[in-house]
Subunit: 340 residues, 2 copies
Amino acid sequence: MTISDVAKATGVSVGAVSRILNNDPTLNVREETKTHVRRTIAELGYSPNPQARGLRMSRSGTIAMIVPEINSPAFTAIILGAQKAARERGYSMLLGGIGEEGDDPQLPSRILARNQVDGFLISTGTQEKEQLAAVKTLGAPSVLVNRYLDESHPHVVLDDVRGVTAIVRHLIELGHKRIGFLGGLRRYLGTRRLAGYKAALKEAGLPFDPGLAIDSGYDRDGGERGASTLLSLANRPTAIFATNHLVAAGAIHEAHRQGFNVPKDLSVASFYDGPVAELLNPAVTSVLYPLDRLGYESVAMLVDILTGVTPATTSVIIPHDKIVVRASTGRAPTKISRRA
Amino acid sequence: MTISDVAKATGVSVGAVSRILNNDPTLNVREETKTHVRRTIAELGYSPNPQARGLRMSRSGTIAMIVPEINSPAFTAIILGAQKAARERGYSMLLGGIGEEGDDPQLPSRILARNQVDGFLISTGTQEKEQLAAVKTLGAPSVLVNRYLDESHPHVVLDDVRGVTAIVRHLIELGHKRIGFLGGLRRYLGTRRLAGYKAALKEAGLPFDPGLAIDSGYDRDGGERGASTLLSLANRPTAIFATNHLVAAGAIHEAHRQGFNVPKDLSVASFYDGPVAELLNPAVTSVLYPLDRLGYESVAMLVDILTGVTPATTSVIIPHDKIVVRASTGRAPTKISRRA
DNA sequence: CTGAAAGCGCTAACAT
DNA sequence: ATGTTAGCGCTTTCAG
């Protein structure tokens, strides 16, 4: 079933069929033949061979999304939004980089060579520096998703600073004066969250104690270790901000293990929000982001670039939605309780 | 950078280069020229255009994986294993069907038309019946992943029956006599889990009470509703088996809400195992499956079919690993406590 | 053992 | 307004 079958069946030439298929605006066809051809195509169930089309037009209609993991609830939402946008625009999405594979900074160029994708959505993993550097020399357009290289390189990020400020402000409003920070501090976005934390303290006139800001990374173990450190301080915090749900889960677990009650002795609030926030016990207060929009906007921007539309800006910032208050945060204890 | 560039650079014909690239066994080339061409290819950084190759060979080297969701921890593991196997065999994976998109039973054929994928890995969602029926008429090979149509259609599944039997046995060994079942009962695999549950009761000489087997579906809400029903029974169970972690989370949440202590008043055990089991509070006892192998074996089987190798069997069954005992299960209470 | 050439299905430039 | 045709990059048959 090829285009020439359609041509034969309709009695027109392949060229005409092709132009009708692609709504060629320059050279027009009689309305009559147009509908006739369209009908025949539908009857025959013909659909053009994407490889031939791709070969001819040197494009594939596929974009590759590189994510370091797929376990984290945040990524699932991002991927969902990206899928939706891609489909709406007639693109397919190839998912790569998950797990060990993601450790290879050359992955994008390998994918490019092997799959002839038109462009990339990039969320780097552990090898951030090398990976982002490699992106520059890719030879294919890319949009960074929740990552940042420089202002000129297209990226879609969250308003991390404001989001963290908002949720730390929530803790401060509950009367907390000593608030721990558990997050990544090595990557650019991690440091922006710390900046948000500092901003909230500053606007409340609270001092910043570097001993309360701990590089926990982004996993559950980091949350446990970080909470352990914080809770063993002589002047321990009464609240903790965690950079995601895994870290929050680890922190809550460690607090429980040490006999603290959450939220009576220790409030815990988390960045992001999603199904996992509800699964934890207690359910975790967190700042809600439309993470699917993060994925959606990334694809929109990439497709603009691919189709020659100059995007309005190289920097899209997704604002946070609201603070979802759940059982993990409460008023600061009037006096610091002894460890149970 | 095309194959004829390589031919020119090396002084041989394109045909020769192609044969060397593909290790053509029939027509051999001098060892000397072979290495020379190989070196030049490496120097030039040439890699063949997948679209042209695909057009010529009418294959794309891409397989589509259709999963209904990506939130569930089980799927992430399956996808990971599938990715690994695909990469090892030189295939790329296109992910589709996530979210609303998955409601369309015609999705596979649409993907086939649009993307010329070589084959499918299928895990249906809500529209199981229609979707599995559509698979039959696809015109491309497919392997069902954790789904079942009939013995002749290639599938990779878990030993659900034995796995459930094992974990229910664990509950029975803890002294529980009345054990609730929360799972899906409409799909084939759901009923197999129920069969495993019955088998465990039977081998222990316990009666099967239909009132204890509840169709909870597979989400958190179902877990809550199911637990609510079970806990309001006059003769309520002292333990519950949940078909996955979301259902387990809902059940635990509902138990807590009603003032029951887990595991003192109620033990909860879950199917699967994974990171989420640790996040819950209490952490959930569950039966461990190598879910990545489920994905891995599915791809292996599909690629066998694609490459003309007749698979040894159309039915691969992944055995469970072991019961991971965590805090959510304990000895049956000696006397049923009143609701707090 | 190696080169030449046909042709996979499509689009776009050029004819008519 | 429609038809013809070259050629995208590759593999593979057929000659040599």
